[in-house]
Symmetry: C2
Subunit: 418 residues, 2 copies
Amino acid sequence: MANRKILVAQGGGPTAVINQSLVGVVLQARRQLSAGVVYGARHGVRGIVDEDFVDLSQETTHNLDAVAATPGSALGSTRDKPDLKYCQDIFKVMAAHDIGHFFYIGGNDSSDTVRIVSEQAQAAGYPLRCVHIPKTIDNDLVGNDHTPGFPSAARFVAQAFTGATLDNNALPGVYVGVVMGRHAGFLTAASALGRKFADDGPHLIYLPERDFDITRFLADVKAVYNRLGRCVIAVSEGIHDAAGQPILAQLMQGQGLERDAHGNLQLSGTGALADLLCAAIKAQLGIKRVRGDTFGYLQRSFLGCVSDVDASEAREVGERAVQFAFAPPARPGGQTGQDGSVAIRRVGEYAVDYVLQPLADVAGKTRTMEDHFISASGHDVTVDFQRYLAPLLGTGLPQAQRLRAQAVPKVLGLGRGV
Amino acid sequence: MANRKILVAQGGGPTAVINQSLVGVVLQARRQLSAGVVYGARHGVRGIVDEDFVDLSQETTHNLDAVAATPGSALGSTRDKPDLKYCQDIFKVMAAHDIGHFFYIGGNDSSDTVRIVSEQAQAAGYPLRCVHIPKTIDNDLVGNDHTPGFPSAARFVAQAFTGATLDNNALPGVYVGVVMGRHAGFLTAASALGRKFADDGPHLIYLPERDFDITRFLADVKAVYNRLGRCVIAVSEGIHDAAGQPILAQLMQGQGLERDAHGNLQLSGTGALADLLCAAIKAQLGIKRVRGDTFGYLQRSFLGCVSDVDASEAREVGERAVQFAFAPPARPGGQTGQDGSVAIRRVGEYAVDYVLQPLADVAGKTRTMEDHFISASGHDVTVDFQRYLAPLLGTGLPQAQRLRAQAVPKVLGLGRGV
């Protein structure tokens, strides 16, 4: 299979480091297969059936390194979920172009795509090596300590909450920041890493792993506000009631909910959830200054907020995918490489190694936050979680500092009160 | 007056570099007045009437430097607008603490506060040197080439739009990003500096300096979308119709509009404007993937996105304020220093100098974007504006890069179409 072409593509939501993995595949393939040709499909599997290929062998290494450091999916992405007919078209195109190796960089849904393509290729007798390369800011792929893309997004969220807390200290009130994460609260939980001093926000963190109750929420906010005169809150876009219905869906009932090809309700791209929660706080707690932000696409696409640990690992999963695909046979006459999904395992404090998981172990499954990461109150994270996340955020995190200045005794005491 | 105390405070919205100006005042006062005492008032003028002072003479230089590099208002801020009674309380407190010099770091509204305090002090015969130090992400202070805080916020907006464009390239559709700026569109216009390639977004930029018409807006979006298959749009939160009514106010009519003590309608802290525009695009243009983000407080408080040019200038306006306040008399027997507002003037490409403007020239006035900065279409900026802003963004801007890879000729041409 060594002379057949290599095809790489990107699926699902872009991240700050997904291009590192793309470039990892391309450069490793060039190293390992001196005469090998590497194609990229534009916009994921959609680009395969459309025969929309670019020849990545015709890229300078300089440009590849520059693209690696650029957020977004350089090849373009897709939310398409192939059915059997779609897969048959994929094989026709791959055969026509003599493609023997397929690398797909993506999250949950993309891993399921790779599983389907791999199974259909075997059923059709088409010789194809399929490797899924992990990527998702949601950190919800099973069998991974964490997933490339998550640490950089987590860094953005932590830095954003440090700043939001400083802003809220200056002009006190209630601040609600809504963070991405459909089923997994990892990214929302990362807000906790923005804290430094004991009274820093976020003071409350609401995760999709716990049922959300608006009455309890308001009581929590009131308690913090009464104690500190301010309150900073991190909320996952995926929060839902005890029946599992998203709070956002409750709000937008009858207003045309949007779903993607994988059946997922569209949660991002609207500020409605933050606005709903702010309105409830204003109306029911009588607090005047209540502000809501929805971090939206900034948290996954902002240019210039990258964890160097994340960037390195994202590059390595791409390189290791090629190594796994072309691994020498375990025994004489055995097959070269195998299909699977590259996974990150933590092997030290802090060090990682990479393994190849069976595709069926990952595809379509969703990891959520483990119980020991969530505090008993249900609206905060544990020290375990902070220890888990801290090394992933990378080096050179900007630091916030406060005045320590001593209070001056009052002379008049005319005070109007604040 | 040299031995009387110095008082410094911060008003209005925090910025990424407002603490540079605070520290500039404190360190310059220490240099210039070896035995001088510098008080800080907590939460602006509110902290004066409340006698809520901290002794900034009791701060280490190390901590001051760390605070300078931290966003937010380290002393706390306020939106209070003092009336006569309030000013009389201010003088009582200042007299009780022997305060002879008042430095107030803030924007439009804060400069008006300094003007009132200065005038009332003169009327009351209270010897007080009042200097306003400029700060605002809106860049709307008259008599300034630009204002500290704006360049860092502009850098955030530019980097955010580069990222949003990359994201939109990967998963095409329409993206609407709403940027702060009540009357002045400078910050929204900064989105244009996120472009690199000819078809990069933002493709449309809507500023409060031009009337907004939803019908024309939809036609503009349709034209770009038909040409590129995607469209990235920057919109100022302050856009308004031909009658001057904010588009946001039209949307939220009867839903409890909030105004501050200065009579300003609260525009930030809600995602409603982006959601309205997205809904209109979906409904009337039939485009499926339409996403809206409201940059909100991230653009003024995010930890870790600072223009080094901005940081240096913010430090300098603080230092120069003290120098202006204690300037030797112009003639023998004349007064030491004078009241005024420090302003930044551009004197080279790129170099600045600082002058002291009369308070009445700045206070309560609003600069908006000059006509030569806005394109004839009304929905873009000119090259003049890009040349104006580029040097302010500072060094080390992260760069986006694209694949240049050549397209592979189709073999089958089965394409399903995109």
